[in-house]
Amino acid sequence: MSSNVELIRALGVLSEPPGPQHGPLAEMLELGGTPDPESYAASFLLQLHPYASVYVGSEGMLGGEARDRVAGAWSALGRTPPAEPDHLGALLGLYAALAEHAGSESDPAEKALWGAAASGLLWEHLLSWTTPYLGCFERAGSPVYAAWARLLTETLRDEGRRWGPPAVLPLHLRRAAELPDPRAAGSEAFLAGLLAPVRSGLLLTRTDLARAAAHMDAGLRMGERRFALSAFFSQDADRTLEWLSREAESWARRHTDGADGMELIADFWSARARATGDLLESLRESDVRKFDGTDDALNGSEVATDARN
């Protein structure tokens, strides 16, 4: 049995809104502080939504096919999928239950089956996205949650090593659509794709966009991220492309840094980021006003106009 089971449960609980138990748990796990509602809201509600579907779904949003796949995993394991089957806390709880079951099973065949179930859940629905996701907490502004994210990353990697890597890439990643070229698909699809981590290989948070605004000396428009990004293009498309290109290059490196046993997944994410970087470079070299069917899509889109109204 994995000796991390209880630790995983505790870390799962800490992905939920802070309650009275969170202080003692954080202290027990030596996170260097107490989670508070403000940090939780800033981290989990506004920046880093703790749902698998946001990171491995082709829409980059809650729900959709990715969530259905996670719900299917619950059902396949004979469990009733909860209302939010792909919430990080729920998945960690489920994984802990499976690992515990595998550990306590005396029948070797049953043990192997439960082990396979635990391992499958870990690789398919957790490790397929958690490393880049948790990495973002370093810049999200909360030391407690940054410490939590480091500990969870380490723990999940430890679990990954325990079961060994899967033979094939997780289904979420195998099925993930690529980032569309705006010259063919239009700017709307391109912007949506950029903000869908599994397609672009980039996790762009609101903090990142604020950083971009500072870097480009551009205005950060209030609104959803796509609107803010679109507004960057309308202000200075070339510099926006340049900034995004540098982000893609940075993410390509970050994904593989210290992959240590996670290479299969890290390589996927890194390849996605590199492909995004290549596309952005090619856009920089072309005249963005000539995008087929999109007119001046990246130079002041209709989205921005609509949103202003």
Binding site: E6, Q21, P24, M28
Partner: protein, 973 residues
Amino acid sequence: MSLDKLSAKVSAARKETEERGETFYPGPSRVHLASFPPKERWHDWVELDSRSWPERVEKRYTLVPTACFNCESGCGLLAYVDRETLQVRKFEGNPEHPGSRGRNCAKGPATINQVTDPDRILYPLKRVGERGEGRWERVSWDEALEDIAGRVARAMDEERHNEIMYHVGRPGEDGYTERMLAGWGVDGHNSHTNICSSGARAGYAFWMGMDRPSPDHANARVILLVSSHLETGHYFNPHAQRIIDGKKNGAKLIVLDTRLSNTATHADHWLSTYPGSEAAVLLSFANHLIQNDLYDREFVRRWWNWKEYLQEQRPDVPVTFEAFEDELKTLYAEYTFEYAEKESGVDAATLAEAAAIVAMAGTRLAAHNWRSAAAGNMGGWQVARTLFMLNALLGAIATEGGTFPSAWNKFVPRPIHLPPRHPKQWNDLTWPQEWPLSLMEMSFLLPHLMKERGGFIDTYFTRVYNPVWTNPDGFSWIELLADAEKIGLHVALTPTWNESAYFADYVLPMGHSSERHDTMSLEQYDGSWVAFRQPVLRAARERAGQPVTDTRETNPGEVWEENEFWIDLTWRIDPDGTRGIRGFFESRQNPGQKLTLDEYYGYMFENSVPGLPEEAAREGITPLEYMRRYGAFQVGEKTGQLFEQEVPAAELVNTDTDDMDRVFTEAPKPAGPNVVPFPAIAPDDQGRRRVGVRVDGSIRRGFPTPTGRLEFWSRTLHEWGWPELAIPTYIKSHVHRQNLDREEMPLISTFRLPVQIHTRSANAKWLTEIAHTNPLWLHPDDAGRLGGIRTGDLVRVETRIGHFVLKAWVTEGIRPGVVACSHHMGRWKLGDQGQRLSMATVGIESEGTGRKMSWKKPGGPFESADPDTSRIWWTDVGVHQNLTFQVNPDPISGMHCWHQAVRVSRARPEDRYGDIWVDLDKAHQAYLNWVAETTRSAADHSPDGTRRPYWLLRPVRPEKEAYRLPELETAVP
């Protein structure tokens, strides 16, 4: 610190916390919008006060559990009692309740509206002036109790026991008042069941003796519903959440419902059947299983009473299972999909597809029919019977994912006193001879029976029940209640004003769910539980060290609870014990003193709920303290197939097995703590009790039916005048097309509005804001045919005894040729008294035998202590259609067959919204015609000179001698 060490540290902390009986993790529910306070902190729970936002002001609560009283589900509630003011601030779900699991529908939290209702009745009231005049004076409880007790005592002394009647809506505590009436020796129990669930329950009872289904929806492969169960069915919240669990686990959902209900929208297959054709559809499914050998042969061979059927009905064929199978194929061959299509209007291919899904369910078919078709149609009881036949064919009875009998998933704890008395007299007003097989009392016929046969009720209690509004033909009820020659004293026990209370002599205020005691146990999944409804402020006071001995001390005004009321009343009826009644409500700890509710429930939880004393002891508290703290306890789960259990040797003493393989024993029945009602199975000639049935050489428990098996063929039906209906079959409804005139359409009136509670929720502002009217569902084809009626247009709906005027809602959510109107709205008041939130003020005029009701003032805003009432934005509170319905008592189940044959037309120039007209003569003549055309009375058909088969369930069963028909002298067996 290493991961291993950190994990070990957390494990140790968890172990230590849980050993203290506390919660370590808040639970995954926190991320699923259902955050429950950990139970160890219920006594001092801190929340931010929402009303102080944006300031962060902490409020401290003590959380006290109770059980909801707003529908029959009895879901768990947690009252948030402010520790400073000792007032309830809100109600949320109780996660410790095994049935509802912390989840509630809108009706549970709305209890706070009912508690704080500005129009609620706070003191005992006595009529001044004429009945219905609306003039009242406040009286003391003592005065009211002395008056009532005096009348009841006189009636008893003069052996006029049948002049005492207790008419109840949904009961509070299982069996409490039945035991009280048995103690009184009064056959005066009169329930609302025959306007509610009798139809379906009769169908189940003829199969298995037990009259309710308990489907294991969560584990089903196929869920088959004849109802709008997801939003409004019986036990709908506990069932709905498990139906959704089942669906998430991959179960297919098939729904038979003429309307596009919320349930139908969730179905994989929605079968919009013509009203009353449901049994034809279900039999086509059964026929599919039978003709294609898709049923569980071994189950049918072991458990159906096929031998009895062949012996009695086919003496010409050998008594072999193979011969029965051939017979089965012949019997049901006519129920093809094409036949079902002709009857139901649903195409044969769709039916075949649904049947194939049912066939793949195997033993995981969870099926349910409650009111719906069974309550709407003559012969509706056969809908439930044909539905359960599918379970019986597939062996999906008491299996995981199958359907259980209710009694195996229900636990009624044995009380401190169980009166061994039976009334000496049979009450003909509730159990008339024309309906010898009726599931329950023929309650809704009372005005007609008394008009036809005379009779006098000296003291008539309506208890949280509103016959004028709820029953069909309400004007006949008004006539009855206003007539002092027929009703001597009418005592309305009610938490809220209602249309019947206006015609009462006393209106006595009773508590809501947070103001009364009851135990509850309901079959909601494969498990059984006991929940405790309690006056939460009484419990909160006691937590604060202030003992309370009378619930009135903590309820608003002088609002009481029924249990203490009945104890007090009984003591006043029999103050010195000479009438032999008082003893059933006397303390054992302090003989000669009144039984207190602490002793009553303390005994019950200590002695009659297995496992509870041990669980309480683990926390160092008494069982009663445990129930006051947590509000519910699960007695057991995974009941399994009790009928297959082998009877233990200790129960087999001098046994005899008869030619039907029934095994009788001299061993007495072991006294158990669960007193859930079962049918009275006859002993053998030697007086030995039946203990089981012999199946393939083993003695098994079997079913509580006369044969001990599932009764495919009912000797009872056969011998009591209905041989053609002795097997599950299809009865063409009274609204079958062949029974309607060309211009008539069936009106479906049996469906609820999901957030309303029949007659109980006119005092809930949140619920009334959500739903407050009941338009007529009209298909666009019909709207066009009727001259281009549009949504919002006034229409006149004519029944066979009158008409009502309401607005149309043109929708494709109803079959063409059928109209529908929910019975939940249309509340009214005659004057100032009433629930102003959702009652129109009306006037009633008499014109000969005609009665006309018209609106004098619609609903709307009003000034009260609650500022919200001045913000009411709606004036339409719906139309009371039930007034215009004739009574349609099913000749077998006794169920009022609710669907009405109606003509719909555009309203006439003189018509106004809410207008109602009824001809009382027509109403009575319709009753007489129906009785003459449909019934087969015990006098003509009883096989043994009795009024009713003794084995059938009956509340407050009279002495056996009372079963004898009066005009016959045949010996009672």
